[in-house]
């Protein structure tokens, strides 16, 4: 239920999602060649995401054919769960040195929703906050390990900020539009991924070792798994969240 | 050179004295710590006193008196002072007319609010159905010295949950609700409130609040709640312990009379 609507809605900003995805995949070379990939399954009946009342923002409303919904629980047609942040929580060798971040990660405000809704970023990497709507948004970061920020963007513009400390997750929100929420995982290493529209994620370029992998979802909380990789092998790590 | 001539002259001395007295009474006195604006009628009294003093001074010896009269006389007769004369003839009647108009024109003012700040307490009260004799009563919690810190802490919590909006963080009666009330909430830091009172008096005021005041305490205006509706006897005594602890005042104690009774 609501999947079609969600897919249609996402399609509106698909180009930008692709851009942001490019931001994650264009990650720098790392010391290792192993991968962990997997799917995030979902069981039970998915709750319906609340419909957003956009009557105050006709410009945003015009970007949707079906009524836009919030993106709290995004269940894919294949029964998997999107927008799950999967990352290496611990296990990296002490000698591991993160590569310098290249290029910014872009967060777009389009159609009065955030694209992407859940994403990762490196400590010190630039977050480019783009307003494609051209109406007033404010973007507020409410981290506890990072200093907060709250920027006004009343027009089509891009502001840049960075995070200084590792923190999973930093909530982002717009107070003009109380339904707009995004989540960013700030990490000192590039070993993270977000489950997409097919429910799969991939963490690549891991050095050999035994890792605790955590999967985070905004409504269903966290799950962890332990994975040992050697050389350039690819291990599978599936997660499963159940409706509450 | 010129100012010297004026400074030595009794007429200008007298004028300067009157102006200086006015400035001190109206503008300097209110700045002194613990002072308020001097009411108009009091200013008038002070100025009259100063005027009498000045007149005694200038008429003290014959020569000074005639020198004092010189400028006045000059203003009345000298041809070159004709403009001054004309000005005085216009200004003085105008001033008199203005004062007279102010007296005659009546405007409605708030009636005076004569209020006894510490009215006489009753000798006993009924607290939630229990009779408590106030005369000679001490704070019962003070008999348990070892528990006093606990009572103080209790009192502090109760104060912050209940009394703070009016009596304020600093216990000076300037809480964030204080501007909405008249009379203003009691200032416990002032040496005129709890510092002068027995704890039994404070207990009565807290327990019975504004509605429990006698007529001379203007019970219809006081926003003090009747705390017996909210707090137990022990809670009220705890708050009282806290008030004295936080401000550093000592409660007034009962003087034992010869017959053994309390006064």
């Amino acid at each position: 239920m609501g999947k079609l609507g969600s897919v249609a809605a996402v399609a509106g900003g698909i180009g930008l999602v692709a851009l942001a995805l490019a931001g994650w995949t264009r990650q720098p070379a790392v010391q290792g060649g192993a991968s962990v990939t997997g799917k995030v399954k979902f069981t039970g009946k998915a709750p319906a995401n609340p419909v957003i009342d956009m009557t105050e923002e006709p410009k945003c409303k015009a970007k949707y054919t079906a009524p836009a919904r919030e993106q709290i629980v995004e269940v894919n047609p294949n029964g998997t769960l999107a927008d799950v942040f999967v990352y290496v929580k611990s296990g990296l060798p002490a000698s591991y040195k993160a590569p310098a971040p290249t290029g910014p990660v872009t967060l777009d405000q389009d159609g009065c929703r955030y694209h992407p809704h859940v994403f990762g970023i490196l400590v010190g990497q630039t977050l480019a906050i783009k307003n494609s709507d051209g109406i007033l948004h404010n973007i507020k970061a409410k981290g506890t390990k990072n200093r907060p920020f709250n920027i006004s963007q009343p027009t089509t513009m891009t502001s840049e900020r960075t995070f200084t400390a590792s923190e999973v997750m930093v909530p982002l929100e717009c107070n003009v539009h109380g339904w707009m929420h995004a989540w960013v995982g700030v990490l000192p290493h590039p070993f993270f991924g977000v489950s997409g529209t097919d429910g799969s994620y991939a963490i690549r370029g891991l050095p050999p070792g035994t890792y605790t992998i955590e999967a985070w979802h905004e409504k269903y909380g966290t799950q962890t798994a332990t994975v040992t990789v050697t050389g350039s092998e690819t291990k599978t790590g599936d997660f499963s969240f159940a409706a509450k | 050179m010129n100012w010297r001539r004026y400074a030595d002259h009794p007429f200008w001395q007298a004028a300067a004295l009157l102006v200086a007295a006015f400035v001190v009474i109206v503008y300097v006195v209110p700045l002194l710590p613990g002072s308020a604006l001097v009411p108009k009628s009091v200013v008038l009294q002070y100025m009259a006193t100063v005027l009498v003093g000045v007149l005694i001074y200038v008429s003290d010896n014959e020569e000074r008196w005639s020198r004092f009269r010189e400028p006045i006389h000059a203003a009345l007769v000298e041809p070159r002072l004709r403009p001054v004369r004309a000005g005085l003839l216009v200004a003085v009647p105008a001033l008199v007319g203005l004062v007279a108009y102010g007296q005659v024109r009546t405007t409605v003012a708030a009636p005076p609010n004569l209020r006894s700040i510490h009215p006489a307490p009753p000798s006993e009260i009924t607290f939630r159905g229990k009779t408590i004799t106030l005369t000679g009563l001490d704070n019962p919690l003070r008999q348990h010295a070892e528990s006093l810190p606990a009572y103080t802490a209790d009192g502090k919590r109760i104060y912050y949950q209940n009394c703070l909006p009016c009596h304020g963080d600093h216990l000076d009666g300037q809480g964030h609700y204080a501007p909405g009330f008249n009379p203003l909430p009691a200032n416990f830091q002032d040496n005129g409130t709890i510092a002068q009172l027995t704890e039994s008096f404070v207990f009565w005021r807290v327990a019975k609040g504004g509605p429990g005041l006698p007529r001379e305490g203007t019970p219809w205006n006081s926003a003090m709640p009747r705390w017996e509706d909210f707090l137990t006897e022990r809670e009220i005594w705890s708050v009282i312990v806290f008030l004295y602890d936080q401000t550093g005042w000592k409660p007034r104690t009962w003087e034992k009379t010869e017959s053994g009774g309390a006064k």
Binding site: N150, M157 | S66, A100, V104, F181
Partner: protein, 532 residues
């Protein structure tokens, strides 16, 4: 070997000791001050959860996150020491935080400021950048029509109205959804009450808040707009000056007596009659009803503006007050629920009922009879034995009734009601009550006599803030005076006094000149002067 060790130890001690001593000195002294004067609201651990916290909205600052509203630093940056000192010294107007200057010594305030910083590790983190922004000087001409028009232009173009509303009363479409970082409901500032602005009332204060934002609240920083040349610095100043112009130039002074002038002919019965603009208006602060159960610590109406005029037969009384919502309004139901949940921990009251679509209400209270002495009924809606006469207006159904209140809980309507007309205009209610001065029911209706001080009090409820019954904002007794026109005869006695004084003056001069002409004292005085 041993000497080496001693030297090393000494070096270590020397390098460490000053630091330890400094922090110990500041923070133990500061801790004592904090525990005694601050912890009651801000909590022993600085988490903003002291015993008084649950009676406050906005809540006391939680120091553990080191997120501060009023700063001179960029959005998200830690405040400077001077920023913290300013909050302590001057307090935060419109909240429960008092100004501590004059209450605590300079040393105590400095010590407590140092101690506050120990609640968060951010202050010890030397990588944190703390630098006050460079603020330009206020451009002149800020009160001019052109400047205000330009300011208004940006008020609209950068979307201030989304939260603060079209006319700045804090009633924008996003206002009912606002939360602070802790999730508590937060009101968009009412820009017509600059004396309640946390960071100060001047245009310069407003400009700084626009540059820095109010961290922990929905109010963002607008500095990026200047950096990206979307706005010039001067344009931001114009916006600040426009916002300043919405409030009175001075903090309204509370005057005891409302003077109702007498006019000839019809009274302005409509709330927006142009006659009202020419009449003096009086401000009366309202505060939460915390005297009878259930108490109410989050009053939404901070005061009322009152104007009155009469024509010898009738009285028209206009009461205007800022209210973010035209209650009942379903858009505010969720906000109301959050307010009730936030204030629910008031231990003395039964838990508030669920959010309901209450109307807005206003009560104007008089004694039944104008007292001859100073005695009057209990200000908080009278008592069973001594009721008060009230006009009660509700927004839904929109009507006014008259009645007798016998305490908060009992209101008995009387058959005759005052006429009332009301408008809700972008966050402000304006209600005009009209009633004959004299009525047939002399036992219950106050008979409004001219030239008397008639006690009057005001009560207001914002339904969308969960207010009804005893959950309301109250005032104490003030007075209404129906002025009599100054009769022409009043000028007679001053005129007589003036003529008499003039005559006496002439007499004195004539007599003195006659004597002076005969070579009296004037000649002698002149002679002495020539010798000087």
């Amino acid at each position: 070997m041993k000497a080496d060790r001693t030297a090393l130890l000494a070096a270590v001690l020397l390098s460490v000791y000053p630091a330890i001593r400094l922090s110990a000195q500041d923070t133990t002294a500061g801790k004592n001050v904090y525990v005694k004067w601050c912890a009651g609201c801000h909590g022993e651990t600085g988490a903003g959860d002291g015993p008084a916290a649950s009676t406050m909205l906005p809540r006391p600052r939680n120091f553990t996150g080191a997120v501060y509203k009023v700063r001179t630093t960029a959005s998200g940056q830690l405040p400077t020491d001077a920023d913290l000192m300013r909050a302590i010294d001057d307090g935060l107007p419109g909240s429960a935080m008092p100004a501590w200057k004059g209450r605590l010594s300079d040393g105590e305030r400095r010590d407590v400021m140092a101690y506050l910083k120990t609640f968060s590790s951010f202050f010890a983190d030397t990588s944190q950048h703390i630098a006050a922004l460079t603020f330009s000087k206020e451009p002149g001409g800020g009160a001019g029509a052109a400047a205000l028009k330009e300011g208004r232009l940006f008020y609209d173009s950068i979307g201030c109205r989304k939260c603060h509303g079209d006319q700045g009363h804090g009633d924008g479409p996003s206002a009912p959804t606002l939360k602070d970082d802790a999730g508590f409901p937060i009101y968009a500032a009412d820009l017509h009450q600059s004396w309640r602005f946390r960071g100060g009332p001047t245009a310069a204060d407003i400009y700084r808040r626009l540059r820095t934002g109010l961290d922990g609240t929905p109010m963002p920083s607008f500095s990026d707009l200047i950096d990206q040349k979307f706005l010039t610095d001067e344009q931001l100043w114009r916006l600040a000056q426009y916002v300043r112009s919405l409030s009175p130039a001075e903090t309204p002074e509370v005057r005891d007596v409302i003077h109702a002038a007498q006019i000839a002919g019809a009274l302005p019965a409509a709330p927006d009659d142009s006659a009202w603009a020419r009449l003096d208006r009086y401000w009366f602060p309202l505060v939460g009803q915390v005297i009878r159960k259930p108490r109410w610590f989050a009053p939404a109406v901070s005061g009322v503006w009152v104007q009155a005029v009469h024509n010898g037969r009738e009285l028209a009384l206009r009461v205007s007050w800022d209210d973010r919502s035209q209650s009942p309004d379903t858009a505010w139901l969720a906000f109301e629920r959050r307010v009730l949940e936030t204030m629910a921990s008031d231990d003395s009251s039964p838990p508030p009922s669920a959010a309901e679509p209450w109307p807005d209400q206003l009560a104007v209270q008089f004694p039944r009879h104008i007292p001859d002495g100073m005695e009057r009924p209990y200000f908080l809606m009278g008592a069973a034995t001594d009721p008060v006469y009230q006009w009660r207006w509700t927004s839904q159904p929109r009507r006014a009734v008259a009645g007798l209140a016998r305490g908060i809980d009992q209101f008995d309507a009387l058959p005759s009601a005052p006429a009332a007309q009301a408008v809700y205009d972008h966050g402000e209610w304006r209600v005009v009550f009209t009633r004959a001065l004299a009525t047939p029911d002399t036992a219950n209706d106050v008979q409004l006599a001219t030239g008397r001080a008639i006690p009057v009090a005001f009560f207001a409820w914002d339904g969308s803030d969960g207010e009804h019954g005893s959950r309301m904002a109250v005032s104490t007794w003030y007075f209404l005076a129906l002025d009599r026109p100054t009769p022409a005869s009043v000028v007679v006695s001053p005129l007589i006094a003036m003529v008499v004084t003039l005559g006496l003056g002439m007499l004195v001069i004539v007599r003195a000149q006659r004597r002076g002409g005969q070579g009296g004292q004037g000649g002698r005085g002149a002679g002495r002067r020539s010798g000087v």
